[in-house]
């Protein structure tokens, strides 16, 4: 083998490569790597400047900060903040009566106090906190916002048997040992209703216990269960029946951010139980239960929310007895709850599928029945693993609440839109100011929630890694 060419001298060293580290290296790699890159960088920078600079000028430098009416903003080229200041109450509370504003404020405050520790994973007393937020807070919020004092007339037996007004007052007073006048006139409890409630509770409990006995359940067990059910019902009805002396505020007067939050939170809180039941139903061994759940879920997921709201506004009143008397917001809430329940079901189903099979098998080996398996073993794991999914669902719902304005419920965006037509504030920049304000509020809420959900996901990922490391 003979070499055709042999180099006899050392090659001169190549010039040092352009810095790959440090700030210059970073610029070279991340901004100016190739001619194409340079062009992209310049275009990107130009786009950023063209978007950000005018926005910043509009929002801050050229903005008008003080003023009483449109005159201040007539010649402005920036945001008209006095417009937002003047309409602030309307944007946040709608037309909620001014002297009662402490009530929504109190609801906001309690919500914040309960929600913040609930969101911090290391905060103590999670169970109590969750009960307070998901159980007590909705009722308290309902009473505070509406005024409560629903004064129900009949329970179950009262629908079939007429309970004479004269009979009940004395009876109820004797049973409880309180002056009947006080109960009725001071606290707003209607004797006929509560007599009806107690009688119905006794009769229904007895009936259930007898039927359950046929299936082999002990009388005491079923009576205990029924006592819990009716106790919970009473705990629910007593506060909404009681007369706290709060003025009744119709939901028609609500609006703005208040409505946005009410719809979103009610939707998600109502969606949880619906979603859990549907998800369990979808994974059930029983064919009809599975089919019914699938049909329900896929129906609501297959139609747009607007049609659901139309359904709630125009069809529900026809479907329900006395449906025309149900307030508009409540009807919309029913629609939203069904809608988001179906979406929640799919989230929960993901969590159920993620629970390893051996958990079910161990629970079965311990002799737990279906509901105990679910309640004690499966659901706690499934639900904690899908909290990020639930938060994402909530973000979607929060954004979707804007749709209620299409059925004439004025949420935050609806109020802002309505304020555009106020001649007192008609100025060239009113429109943009309103959009800027509403946009910032929506963005702050959604961005914070999405970051929180990311944080939870990372945390869950870390804990999984830790668990795997410990196992090794």
């Amino acid at each position: 083998m003979s070499a055709a060419f042999v180099r006899m001298e050392t090659l001169p060293p190549r010039p040092a490569p352009f810095a790959a580290t440090g700030i210059t290296g970073w610029f070279a790699r991340r901004l100016f790597a190739t001619p194409g890159d340079i062009a992209m960088t310049l275009i990107g920078f130009a786009a950023f400047v063209l978007i950000a600079l005018p926005m910043f000028r509009f929002l801050v430098f050229d903005a008008v900060w003080t003023g009483e009416n449109r005159d201040a903003c007539l010649n402005a080229s920036g945001a008209c903040w006095p417009f937002v200041a003047a309409k602030f109450n309307q944007f946040v509370y709608g037309f909620y009566p001014y002297e009662e504003l402490w009530r929504p404020n109190l609801v906001f405050a309690i919500g914040a106090v309960l929600l913040i520790p609930l969101l911090i994973p290391s905060a103590p007393l999670k169970r109590l906190n969750a009960i307070l937020f998901f159980g007590v807070y909705p009722i308290a919020g309902f009473v505070l916002l509406t005024g409560g004092n629903l004064d129900p007339q009949r329970f179950v037996i009262g629908r079939f048997v007429r309970i004479p007004e004269s009979f009940d007052i004395g009876a109820i007073a004797r049973v409880i040992g309180v002056d009947h006048l006080d109960l009725r006139s001071r606290w707003g409890f209607r004797g006929t209703f509560w007599l009806d409630f107690i009688a119905s509770a006794i009769v229904l409990s007895a009936a259930v216990a007898v039927i359950a006995r046929l299936f082999g359940t002990r009388f005491t067990t079923s009576l205990k269960a029924m006592a819990i059910v009716f106790g919970a019902l009473a705990l629910l009805i007593v506060p909404v029946d009681a007369d706290f002396g709060l003025r009744w505020v119709e939901t028609r007067e609500w609006g703005g951010l208040l409505v946005t939050l009410v719809v979103a939170i009610t939707g998600i809180v109502a969606a949880l139980p619906i979603g859990v039941l549907l998800a369990l139903g979808r994974r059930s061994q029983m064919r009809l239960v599975r089919w019914a759940s699938v049909a329900f879920i896929e129906f609501w997921r297959g139609v747009p929310l607007i049609t659901v709201l139309f359904f709630a506004t125009y069809m529900l009143p026809l479907f329900l007895p006395g449906g025309a008397n149900i307030e508009r917001l409540v009807r919309a809430l029913i629609g939203v709850a069904l809608f988001s329940g179906a979406y929640m079901a799919e989230v929960v189903r993901g969590g159920l599928a993620a629970v390893p099979k051996h958990q079910y098998e161990s629970a079965a080996a311990l002799g737990l029945g279906y509901w105990k398996t679910m309640y004690l073993v499966v659901l706690p794991q499934a639900l904690t693993s899908v909290i990020p999914g639930i938060v994402n669902n909530f973000i979607g719902l929060f954004k979707d609440t804007t749709l209620v304005q299409i059925v004439a419920i004025l949420d935050l965006l609806g109020q802002v839109r309505a304020a555009f037509s106020d001649p007192n504030w008609a100025s060239p920049t009113t429109l943009y100011t309103g959009f800027a304000f509403a946009g910032m509020i929506y963005f702050v809420f959604c961005f914070a929630m999405s970051r929180y959900s990311l944080f939870l996901e990372r945390r869950a990922g870390k804990s999984v890694l830790r668990m795997e490391a410990e196992r090794r």
Binding site: G216, L288, Y314, M315, F319, T401, Y442, C446
Partner: protein, 394 residues
């Protein structure tokens, strides 16, 4: 060792504990409950319909609608029936959805890939786009485009004009091509050409897979899709005239007008959905193992072909299922048209027609069923596609 006898307690009422019996009872109860609720709803509804004198049935379909629609893909006049209005609305929904899906996919893929760019400013810009778009309600964005952007364009008399195209607050006006007779044949030829070239492309692909050599398909495609129809166009002397928009008084006459409602809805729908698609694309690309990119680079492929030939085909498997649900979301979200008055299905049918006839049950039922049907069809098609590109495990 003492022998302790195993005592078996006899179960009482044993048949009642059998899972089969139990599940049968529960299922019967469920059916009974559903039937009961259905019957109660039926009874109340009937009562309500009688007392409120609401007409029932589908006869309203054949009544003259008496309203006009601002954008129609098929001719529609006030003396046309509600059935035709329904069709117009449905076509408008499908029209804006189809365009929206195409645009959203294009923007979404660009932004999603851009977010992974090694160019810092491009990655940041795409990231910012995704964050802003996804954290603002869609309705907010529709209203923003409609009220704050398109409505503030100059009036017709001060239109921005680009040649024969005029942009103003009434929309975009452009010359409308008016074809002579025989355009139908040309269109038919073009459609057949597209179909044949698709068939040819798939045959060519099969040939390439089997033999390894590449068949050039573009000349055939060109011939089928362009050359033959153009030749036919010239040979049949179809001819084309343009109906140009002209300013008459305060408004334009003639031409083809794209209404601002349509533009606002299309822009908002496609940019909004693109934000979600971008995230899906990004996640899909990140799900492809790094080794794939490195191996492709080691083979000497450039960045573009690496993405196109190696990464994206594998990423598609992860991308398709969530992408499907985004498409479905876009179609459902197109119903937000009602907020700005774009005449889609909900706006024309569940809005105007419902208000005119008052037959909420029939109209909302049909509307919901239409969306359900569209959803099912699209899931079905996308599932087929997904199955085709899915990894074939041996």
């Amino acid at each position: 060792m003492t022998d302790t006898p195993v005592r078996r307690e006899r179960m009482r009422a044993s048949w009642i504990f059998r899972p089969g019996v139990r599940s049968a009872v529960i299922q019967i109860l469920l059916v009974a409950l559903v039937v009961l609720i259905g019957w109660m709803i039926y009874r109340t509804t009937r009562q309500n319909i009688i007392t409120q004198r609401i007409p029932i049935g589908f006869d309203f379909f054949w009544i003259e609608s008496g309203f006009s629609i601002s954008q129609t893909l098929i001719p529609f006049a006030e003396n046309n029936t509600y059935a035709r209005a329904f069709l117009v609305g449905l076509l408008n929904t499908l029209f804006v959805s189809a365009l929206g899906v195409a645009l959203a996919t294009a923007i979404g893929f660009m932004v999603g890939i851009g977010r992974l760019s090694h160019n810092w400013i491009i990655a940041r810009l795409c990231g910012g786009y995704v964050e802003v778009i996804r954290n603002l309600p869609l309705l907010f964005q529709i209203l923003f485009w409609y009220l704050a952007v398109l409505a503030t364009l100059p009036s017709p008399r001060e239109s921005i004009s680009l040649g024969n195209i005029f942009i103003n607050n009434r929309g975009i006006l452009m010359p409308k091509p008016m074809f002579g007779e025989g355009i139908g044949i040309v269109a038919l030829l073009a459609a057949v050409g597209i179909l044949l070239s698709l068939v040819f492309a798939s045959l060519a692909r099969r040939y390439r897979v089997q033999t390894g050599s590449k068949l050039k398909s573009w000349p055939i495609t060109l011939l089928l899709v362009l050359v033959i129809p153009v030749f036919a166009f010239l040979y049949l002397k179809v001819g084309v005239a343009f109906d140009k928009p002209e300013l008459k008084g305060f408004n334009f006459n003639g031409g083809l007008r794209i209404i601002p409602e349509f533009l606002a809805l299309l822009i908002a729908l496609s940019t909004y959905t693109a934000g979600f698609i971008a995230e899906i694309v990004r996640a899909g690309i990140l799900a492809v193992h790094r080794g794939q990119t490195e191996a492709a680079s080691a083979l000497g492929l450039r960045r573009g072909p690496v993405l196109r030939l190696v990464v994206v085909p594998q990423a598609l498997r992860v991308i398709i299922p969530p992408l499907t649900s985004q498409y479905l979301n876009l179609i459902k979200n197109s119903s937000l048209a009602v907020s700005i008055g774009y005449p889609d299905l909900v706006s024309v049918f569940a809005g105007t027609t419902l208000n005119n006839t008052g037959q909420a049950i029939e109209i909302l039922g049909i509307t919901m069923l239409v969306y359900l049907f569209i959803s099912l069809v699209i899931s079905f098609v996308m599932n087929l596609y997904n199955r085709r590109i899915a990894l074939r495990e041996r």
